[in-house]
């Protein structure tokens, strides 16, 4: 496979459990003070033209991970490589150029658009910052962007509060597209929308990808949409990825007990379909107090002695299918290079 567009390697983000100061030090040192381990050593990559899904319960660190990749949060440790640039070390002009190439769409567009600005001002801002258009050209580009996301020219003079939720999200998408990025983090882009609007926004995003070749990191807990749109999926639990595979493999052949429970929780529209529900006992533990050994051991029905002492690493169980679980330790040994 050709070299990935984005590779995240052993990324950590710890928050202090007291106060809001940034933590400094290696993850091993910091772990002594019981920090909130929002992202706890995550490794994955995203290829060009790919839609990569990131799923997991609320609070598992998905959004924090997305923000660390874009340097909206400073990672505690680890690296993020974008093309041949190191995002975590970039500064000044190079960081700005990276910001041009990497964009984000937030969950609630009503919150992500400044209420003080018209649509035109919102869309013109990125053009101005990166010197992409001036004067007349700005107006042309704004109209083009509106058209690209299916809005009318008249919408450019509106304030966010004068738009519907779906329209607001389209403006937010247009803003992300303004700099012609190669990569967009979609942080729950449809969660705040009605189900009827969800699909139109998903269609819009796919259409944009088809015409521009942009890659997406789709952060979502909506498994139906993930299954519908993503090429590959990573499942996150308490700050760590427990399984990564092609979408079809994750949904039809989930290996990790947590993924299995997650998939089984998808509602089936036919009330007469018999299906096996897997109910996880208890609540997910706090990310400030992650269990030792396997982080899932407190809720796993297959828990073994080994799981309590040793942390499983994310290893290839089948070709292109990686899982962090000792149940597949045999396969792991066979697949592991010597």
């Amino acid at each position: 496979m050709n070299s990935p567009l984005l590779s995240v390697t052993k990324l950590f983000k710890y928050f202090s459990s007291r106060g809001q100061r940034e933590l400094r030090g290696t993850p091993e040192q910091l772990r002594q003070d019981g920090p909130v381990r929002a992202v706890d050593g995550v490794t994955f990559e995203v290829h060009s033209h790919e839609t990569f899904g990131l799923v997991g319960e609320s609070g598992c660190g998905k959004s924090t991970l997305g923000r660390c990749i874009l340097r909206l949060l400073e990672p505690t440790a680890g690296s993020v490589a974008f093309g041949d640039e190191d995002v975590t070390r970039a500064a000044g002009q190079r960081l700005r150029e990276l910001r041009r190439r990497m964009q984000i769409v937030f969950q609630d567009a009503g919150q992500s658009l400044s209420p003080m600005r018209t649509v035109r001002a919102t869309l013109a801002e990125p053009l101005r910052i990166h010197g992409l258009a001036r004067g007349e050209a700005t107006e042309t580009r704004v109209l083009q962007l509106l058209d690209q996301v299916g809005l009318e020219p008249m919408h450019r003079n509106r304030y966010p509060h004068q738009l519907s939720g779906g329209q607001q999200q389209r403006v937010a998408i247009a803003r992300a597209l303004a700099t012609e990025p190669d990569f967009i983090v979609l942080d729950e882009p449809t969660s705040a929308l009605d189900s009827s609007l969800k699909l139109t926004v998903v269609d819009l995003l796919q259409h944009v990808q088809d015409s521009t070749g942009v890659s997406y990191l789709l952060i979502s807990h909506d498994l139906t949409i993930v299954r519908h749109t993503c090429d590959r999926v990573a499942v996150m639990y308490l700050g760590a990825i427990v399984e990564i595979a092609a979408t079809a493999h994750v949904f039809d052949d989930a290996l990790h007990p947590y993924t299995q429970a997650l998939i089984a929780s998808i509602p089936v529209p036919d009330p007469f379909t018999k299906r096996e529900r897997i109910l996880l006992p208890g609540e997910p533990p706090s990310p400030a107090n992650i269990p030792s050994g396997c982080r899932f051991q407190t809720r796993c029905s297959f828990v073994m002695d080994r799981c309590r002492h040793e942390e499983p690493s994310l290893l290839e169980a089948k070709p292109g299918h990686r899982v962090a679980c000792f149940l597949y330790a045999e396969a792991e040994r066979e697949a592991a290079p010597t």
């Binding site: 106060g19 658009l113 209420p115 509060h161 803003r175």
Partner: protein
């Protein structure tokens, strides 16, 4: 349309409020201890003389009759005479009002500049040194009486350090007042390029302005801090950073602009309270504004000025309130455009 209706409703409400204020101001004389007629004639006046005086002052008529006469006079600009200064109250008031305005505006300016900067600094580094300073000033502003702070400042800067003139008025006795344009000495001396008067008036203004400014400083700082923290944690600030705006631009252009909306209304209301606070500060600094005038009138049982000041300050407060609400239309598009 809705805006006009809103305005109409506010104006109707204002009329009602002003009517209420006038009733209170009118009744004040009848509620306050002491008989205005007797207080003018002295303790040794005979009962007959007092009755005559009462008739002369119209105090023997029924309350509604007296109210109508009183309001009729007020609308003609006749606020009664002060028997202490032997001038019409309106004249005394016009003469002293600019001094209070100068003091209140200077105090407010100080409080806004310092309060907003401190609030922003505190929000940027929560629990940092500026945050602690803001808390300290907040506690001081709420718990320490203004006159006490004024006295401390006088002890420190006048009697100990000898850097500021004694708190006796608005100008040094050997400096002539600048040609009257606005009645605010600092503004007038600037307009007439009278540098000597400017220097002197500024030196005399500093301490009372600082003293009075501590009052609104605390709420302005707290409001700015809270609004900034909320704005800084919003998705539109995150989006602005993702677009590549520098940190300063994000803080000033995006976050502060949104955070200032609640602060503006708060500042407007503080101006009303300042007039009240000015009374104490003017006493401490013998600042010859309406505060000192009111104080001396109260001490001397001079009813006409007390009544008029209650009326004027009350109406002023209501008008400022209205102006602040109108200001919302100007600065907040969510209200301006529907």
């Amino acid at each position: 349309m809705t805006r006009r209706r809103y305005l109409g409703r506010r104006l109707a409400l204002l009329v009602l409020v002003v009517f209420g204020i006038s009733i209170v101001a009118f009744l004040l004389v009848h509620v306050l201890p002491g008989d205005p007629a007797r207080s003018r004639l002295g303790v040794f006046a005979t009962e007959e003389l007092v009755q005559l005086k009462r008739a002369e002052m119209g105090l023997d008529k029924s309350l509604p009759e007296q109210y109508v006469t009183y309001m009729g006079n007020v609308f003609r600009g006749d606020l009664g005479d002060s028997w202490r200064t032997h001038n019409p109250v309106a004249e005394d008031f016009v003469e002293r009002f600019p001094a209070t305005i100068e003091l209140a505006l200077a105090a407010l300016l100080l409080a806004v500049v310092l309060g907003v900067s401190l609030g922003v600094a505190a929000a940027l580094r929560r629990n940092g040194p500026f945050d602690h300073l803001a808390t300290l000033l907040g506690i001081l502003g709420i718990s320490a009486p203004v006159f006490w702070i004024g006295l401390l400042l006088i002890i420190a800067f006048v009697t100990q350090l000898h850097v500021l003139p004694a708190p006796l008025g608005r100008l040094a006795s050997d400096v002539e007042a600048p040609t009257q344009i606005t009645g605010l000495y600092v503004v007038d001396s600037l307009l007439t390029a009278n540098w000597e008067a400017l220097r002197s008036s500024l030196l005399y203004l500093v301490l009372p302005a600082v003293t009075l400014g501590i009052l609104p400083l605390a709420p302005i700082t707290r409001m700015t801090r809270a609004a900034m923290i909320e704005a800084l944690d919003s998705d539109f600030v995150r989006a602005a950073r993702a677009l590549g705006l520098s940190r300063t631009q994000v803080v000033v252009k995006i976050a502060l602009r949104n955070a200032l909306i609640p602060v503006v209304s708060m500042v407007g209301l503080q101006l009303g309270y300042l007039v009240g606070g000015a009374v104490l500060v003017e006493i401490v600094f013998t600042w010859s504004g309406i505060g000192l005038y009111l104080y001396r009138s109260v001490i001397g049982l001079d009813f006409a000025p007390i009544q008029s000041l209650v009326l004027i300050v009350g109406v002023l407060f209501a008008l400022i309130n209205l102006a602040v609400d109108m200001l919302y239309f100007a600065i907040d598009p969510r209200i301006r455009v529907r």
